[in-house]
């Protein structure tokens, strides 16, 4: 199963008007919507035959369900119009690397491939912490490409985490924090763990 990756071509350079850029921008728009609604800003789109067939944003706060991540919402929308089997010819564009839960769900749903923006060092399931997309499993592996509009995805998250969480039991004052715009501390997404690196969006 693991050999499947080597046969996938590395995605050509991402220019402003490439299709990959177009889809990831749509995912970033969903991330913006999540931010507007007080959700951790992660957004995604499902693309089938050059069309967006599902959109998702993080929905854990509104739903009060910690498992309602963007990927699940997009798949739910997808399944309203398509059979599950159509996911085998569908790609996911998501602003942040899928978490372990979503990485497994995407595999069970047999996604064709996953493109993500920034890595997820805390919960990442496609290279960040574990490599659920490539490990031994009863479902076939899928290729993952990271680093697409990475900075934009990170800035979304920073804009969220600089806010004070008024819903927290003990809100932490963050009045004096300034939005960090530097990227020198950001871990580079390396081509290890079966994750291909997309050329920078710039």
């Amino acid at each position: 199963m693991d050999e499947a990756f080597s046969e996938i071509e590395i995605t050509p350079a991402v220019s402003e008007n490439s299709k990959h850029a177009q889809w990831m921008k749509a995912a970033l728009d969903m991330g913006e919507k999540a931010l507007e609604h007080g959700e951790t800003p992660v957004g995604c789109v499902l693309v089938h035959n050059d069309k967006i067939v599902g959109r998702g944003m993080n929905d854990t706060n509104r739903s009060m369900n910690g498992t309602r991540h963007a990927e699940f919402l997009a798949i739910a929308e997808f399944l309203q119009s398509f059979p599950k089997s159509a996911l085998q010819s569908t790609d996911l564009y998501v602003t942040v690397e899928p978490c372990i839960m979503c990485a497994s769900a995407l595999r069970q749903y047999r996604i064709r491939s996953v493109y993500f923006g920034c890595a997820n060092d805390r919960f990442g399931g496609t290279g960040g912490v574990l490599t659920i997309h490539a490990d031994r499993s009863i479902d076939s592996a899928y290729p993952v490409y990271g680093g697409l509009f990475q900075k934009e995805a990170i800035m979304l998250l920073r804009r969220f985490y600089i806010q004070e969480n008024t819903k927290a039991p003990v809100p932490r004052a963050k009045k004096h924090r300034e939005l960090n715009t530097a990227f020198d501390q950001v871990r580079e997404i390396t081509a290890t763990n079966g994750v291909e690196v997309l050329p920078s969006s710039q």
Binding site: H37, G56, T60, R62, N65, K84, I100, Q108, V129, S137
Partner: protein, 582 residues
């Protein structure tokens, strides 16, 4: 059969609860580095420590407190002692010596020798018969890092060849840089490398749950675990016979209610397991096939549907497996969330139609099975007799007890702060048991369960401190899949429990193969046939992840004739060898 009758008829599984190790325990992090060993005058030990600590400040990030700083000759492993004696023969000095260990990172050898020179062993008195001292230049060359843990290399000072006694000889040896996980590992290292201390009370940081919390929780859940797992199997059976899903079931339990039941039973001197069902806040079955079926079919004859889908359970066909959001665990989490959404008035008053989310019911949480409906809606109160006097007062409310007793709070759980407000709201709150019982028996409550102010649920509302599944335990018929295992963490469950016979190679919790005594040849050979073909993620507690839960397996002592527990409920045994995602 009516749900209440099913529950009444439940025979608990018999067996014991065992903690599931973490992957850091089953695949311990071992790493070794070189340390210097020097022989010194026994009387200067404390001065040596002072001198070493000021000259070579310790690396705070690598505390080496598991390594003894000093060792007597009889504590040194044979091989190391031989290397030491090769460069520092014991008969050269007066025998009043001790060995000091300088942990990695290694300082400059020459600087160390100079520093320690004043503490060198005292020479043997002149009138004794001293054999000729071997020329240091002929012994082994300058210390080089050894490459195997057991190898030890010796070196002596090559810069002071004149027969000036005393002098310091340094020997390098491999030492473990991480503390031992258990006594036997400590013994092993002590015998082969350097004396190592095992400190069970030392914080193992994130590597494993604190042992006292793990064992206290195990003791607390063990009396009723067999009941909850038996109920989970009933829920699974319901899911299977309805044709909506595989035979997988989940039972969510509030340990705070459990400890309340315990204290009541203690006061009444009654069986603390008698009212086990009162601690169940929700049950959920697998519905992975239900998306394919039209919703109305569920209300048709179950038998027909059961037959239709019986073929699907005999194999794994991803196209008809639904998705993990239809798994029992994911639905259980959604039931609790949905309940809170309905109870959250604020949310109801300010609907956000512009919200770009799917507003349908992707997890079919509105299509409840009889058992699901029973526990979500119909059981409004504890089923104990109407004896308000027996109820604990509000300072024994679930939230209070939870933090006093069940020791769940190792993460930043919201309830910790809401706890202080609980007693003031308890007298009128729905969670107050005395309020629940004052108007009669359980069956008197008639609620549809969908109203925003339904008094039926045992699920703590947000204002009562309820947040996701914080502090709750989940009992499953099978080891949850990787997706659901991570869902357990993201939902902040306190603990996950499943029967060992419910292990699946696709699971995300187990951390090692089952080692089974081979005495009984009819015993399931699960470890054998699954062991080499799966990943062992141990997701319940991994140091890399921000959230962690306690993990337990239920080991049954009385398996039925087929030797199978969970899989036997399909009755035809067809599920036995099918690997799927639970």
């Amino acid at each position: 059969m009516h749900a209440a009758e099913i529950i009444k008829a439940i025979e608990p599984l018999k067996g014991s609860v065992v903690a599931i190790k973490t992957v850091q325990e089953t695949r311990p992090l071992e790493d070794f580095a070189d340390a210097f060993i020097a022989e010194i005058n026994v009387k200067s030990a404390s001065k040596v420590i002072k001198a070493l600590d000021s000259a070579f400040p310790r690396d705070e990030s690598l505390p080496m407190s598991h390594l003894r700083r000093f060792a007597k000759r009889n504590m040194i492993p044979q091989e190391l002692l031989a290397a030491i004696e090769a460069v520092s023969p014991p008969d050269l000095h007066d025998g009043q010596t001790l060995f000091v260990m300088l942990p990695p990172p290694l300082p400059d050898a020459e600087a160390l020798r100079k520093l320690l020179a004043q503490f060198a062993p005292q020479p043997r008195r002149r009138n004794s018969t001293t054999p000729p001292r071997p020329d240091p230049a002929t012994s082994q060359p300058e210390a080089a890092p050894s490459d195997s843990p057991s190898a030890a290399q010796a070196s002596t000072s090559s810069t002071s060849p004149e027969p000036q006694i005393p002098q310091i000889s340094l020997v390098t040896t491999r030492v473990p840089i991480y503390p031992p996980f258990n006594i036997s590992q400590a013994d092993q290292w002590t015998k082969t490398m350097w004396p190592v201390v095992f400190n069970p009370a030392a914080p193992r940081s994130n590597v494993a749950p604190p042992p006292q919390i793990l064992s206290r929780t195990r003791e607390a859940i063990e009396p009723r675990a067999g009941h909850f797992l038996a109920l989970a199997r009933k829920v699974a059976e319901e899911a299977h016979t309805s044709g909506r899903g595989r035979a997988v079931g989940a039972v969510v339990v509030d340990p705070a209610i459990e400890s309340e039941l315990e204290s009541i039973a203690w006061d009444k001197d009654s069986d603390p397991t008698e009212h086990w069902m009162d601690a169940v806040v929700a049950v959920a079955g697998d519905v992975r096939y239900a998306r394919l079926e039209a919703a109305h079919k569920f209300n048709e004859t179950n038998q027909t549907l059961g037959d239709e889908t019986s073929q699907t359970t005999s194999g794994y066909n991803p196209d008809i497996e639904g998705g993990p959001d239809l798994h029992a665990l994911m639905r259980a989490a959604e039931f609790i969330a949905r309940r809170r959404r309905q109870e959250d008035e604020e949310l109801a008053e300010t609907p956000e139609p512009a919200l770009p989310v799917v507003l349908t019911d992707p997890q079919l949480s509105n299509q409840l099975s009889p058992l699901e409906s029973y526990f979500l809606n119909e059981t409004s109160r504890l089923t104990l007799g109407p004896e308000p006097d027996q109820w604990p007062t509000s300072n024994l409310s679930p939230k209070k007890r939870k933090h006093g007793d069940s020791g769940a709070g190792w993460a930043d759980e919201p309830q910790v702060s809401s706890c202080s407000t609980a007693p003031s709201t308890a007298p009128s709150g729905e969670k107050n048991p005395s309020a629940r019982t004052e108007d009669g028996s359980c069956s008197a409550v008639d609620c549809n369960g969908d109203g925003p102010s339904s008094p039926g649920s045992r699920i703590r509302t947000r204002s009562e401190g309820g947040y996701l599944c914080t502090g709750l335990d989940i009992y499953l018929t099978h080891e949850p899949c990787v997706c659901c295992s991570m869902g357990i963490l993201l939902s902040r469950f306190r603990a996950v429990i499943y029967p060992r016979t419910g292990r699946l190679p696709s699971g995300g919790i187990a951390s090692e193969p089952i080692v089974r005594p081979t005495r009984d040849e009819h015993a399931p050979k699960e470890g054998e046939h699954q062991g080499e073909h799966r990943e062992y993620y141990g997701l319940h507690w991994r140091k890399e992840l921000n959230w962690r839960a306690l993990g337990y397996e239920f080991v049954e002592t009385e398996l039925n004739e087929a030797g199978e527990g969970a899989t036997a409920l399909t009755k035809d045994g067809s599920q036995e060898d099918v690997i799927f995602h639970a």
